[in-house]
Amino acid sequence: MEKQRHNLLTIVHDVAVFLMVMCGIVALATDQAHAAGDTIKVGIITEMTGTFADFGRHIVGGAKAYMKVNGDTVAGKKVELIIRDTTGPVPDVAKRLAQELIVKDKVDFIAGLGFTPNALAIAPLVTEAKKPTIIMNAATSIITTKSPYFARVSMTLPQVTEPMAQWAFKKGYRKIYTLVADYGPGHDAEAAFKKAFTKMGGEVIGESRVPLKSPEFGPYVQRIKDAKPQAVFAFVMPGEMAVAFMKTYNERGLAKSGIKLLSTGDVMDDAVQDALGDHALGVISSHQYSVAHKSQENKNFLAAYSKFDPQRPNFMAVGGYDGMAAIYNVIKQLNGKIDGDKAMAVLKGMKLNSPRGPIQIDAATRDVVQNIYIREVKKVDGHYYNVEFETFNAVKDPGK
């Protein structure tokens, strides 16, 4: 009896371990299946699940749209996307995915990267492995300084913020209140705006930082109302935070009492415009891309994107699109033989005709140089758009 009991425990553990090892072997073995061939592999590290699944949807959608327009073969090589899910700003996962893409999948490029911490975490890896890495979204200035193999096609926060400050001053605003989401990018936007605006002689008469998890904007908006500025510069997370903010802003009658709302384009994200509805009408924002941008490239992009996603694309999708454009260009120039240093040499100074307008990757900083547009939210044919009305040409990242 006792002996049996003992055997039993052993059996339980044996079975457990056996199962676990089998699981592991099966799971790990499926990894080894990728055969190297006449393909160029692009590993996309982005958010496919969780709260930020929208990031991945746009970035991957944009990348696929580019391949739809331009075919999946360049210089005789087939381009293959390998998409990996970080689940959010989780740098340890991002780093693991990057490592696996490099040593196991043997990718030629790494791309994607929705969040700054994810990009920063993989910097030492891509430097060590000499993998050209295209930042398709993450927007903190310092990113490109962390690895010589980083190139960015998206934007930096100061880059889009500064033109807003300049435009506001030009329009005669002198007293402005800033409201930002209480996290790194928010702090950066606050600093960039304040720096640019006060340098010209304007005054920031109040600053508020709103916690990320706050369903209630009432008290913050009330403080603004009490401070009576001429305008508010706002930077909050796109999504429900932007929606909640806009609603409160209107409900409390700030728009009616003549306090103009200025923001960057991430807040007036094209994808959430219809969710914002009338609340956002008349809001001025500065950004590199609007769905309403009038150009043939944009038309092509929108047509291709709609094949993958019934919803509207946004600037992240354009990041994905242009990132692939840059990669295609490199493949073409190097005739399919990808080498880290040569690829970076091609990327430096590369010019692209993007759906957002002309862009260039700065030869010195590997950061994007692009037009920044000032736009106003208008209702066109029953839908809401950011309509561009003024352009700041070839803006570099002032954060460097």
């Binding site: 706050s214 369903p215 209630e216 999504g239 429900e240 009658g253 509805g277 019934p310 919803q311």
Partner: protein, 289 residues
């Protein structure tokens, strides 16, 4: 002085919102003792139903509300029959896991059906904007919410204290065996209670989306807030939930207005503080042996 009154109004209004989204949980958790973390799923269902009813079926905001309540209540019975019922007597941990599973499936399902983005919610013209009363600007929608809260509170307190059904619920909760021996069909009573709690969750979700927004992560994003209010109030006590909601609402708004630097901390700190003072909730009953 004026700003103080304004802050107080905002706080109470925010409290009203917290109450509306949490009271359903207070019922399932407090009366039935089921740790239903999937409360937010019913709230989210309410939100999506409202949006769909209004945009696809062209039903107005007000008439849509009772429809949402009924559909969610009836729909919840399906889940009650198939899943919840089996775990009424399980440990809290099992109940938590089951309901977290439901949240995950609901999140994936909603993403599949509606996409991951924010849903637009349009409330009628007469509910948007503010009334100006004696120099104070009072939001119409918030006033509307407060009226609804008063209505729900009265209805629940009356319903639970004064009606036969209420008596049956209390009897079933206090002692299942005795209730059964008195001829009460406890199972049926629990079903009805569950439907009531879920219906209220749906209604709360529908009323809340204008302020909280609506996307597939709704259920998990606001989970903390539902629990916070209910646990602080003392599960099962409608008044406790109301009191906790108003208290936390005012504390949060006042804190954010007067000390905005600490905005993110206030509600959690208030919760921990209140729970240390009242481990069983403000008006919670100690579980008698």
């Amino acid at each position: 002085m004026l700003s103080l009154l304004g802050v107080l109004f905002d706080g109470l209004a925010y409290g009203a919102l917290l109450f509306v989204i949490s009271v359903g949980l207070s019922i399932t958790l407090g009366l039935m003792g089921f740790n239903n973390l999937a409360h937010g799923v019913f709230a989210m269902a309410g939100g999506y139903l409202l949006v769909t009813l209004m945009s696809k079926a062209g039903i107005g905001f007000l008439p849509a509300l009772p429809i949402v309540f009924c559909i969610v209540a009836v729909g919840s019975l399906v889940l009650e029959r198939t899943l919840y019922r089996q775990l009424y007597k399980s440990t809290p941990l099992d109940q938590v896991l089951l309901s977290v599973g439901i949240i995950f499936i609901a999140t994936a399902g909603t993403t599949f059906l509606w996409g991951p983005g924010q849903q637009p919610v349009v409330i009628p013209e007469w509910l948007s904007g503010q009334y100006s009363v004696l120099g104070l600007d009072l939001s119409r929608y918030r006033l509307f919410l407060m009226a609804i809260v008063a209505g729900i509170t009265l209805a629940l307190v009356f319903g639970l204290e004064r009606t036969r059904f209420g008596a049956k619920i209390r009897a079933s909760v206090d002692n299942q065996r005795t209730a059964e021996s008195m001829g009460i069909r406890v199972e049926r009573v629990f079903q009805m209670t569950f439907a009531l709690g879920s219906g209220l969750a749906g209604l709360g979700g529908a009323l809340g989306v204008d302020v909280l927004g609506l996307d597939p992560n709704f259920a998990i994003k606001y989970l903390v807030y539902f629990l916070l209010v209910v646990v602080v109030g003392g599960p099962g006590s409608v008044f406790g939930t109301l009191l906790a909601a108003l208290l936390l609402g005012v504390a949060d708004i006042a804190g954010k207005y007067y000390v905005p630097q600490l905005g993110a901390f206030i509600i959690y700190a208030a919760m921990i503080f209140l729970l240390l003072l009242f481990p069983h909730g403000l008006l919670g009953r100690r579980k008698s042996k």
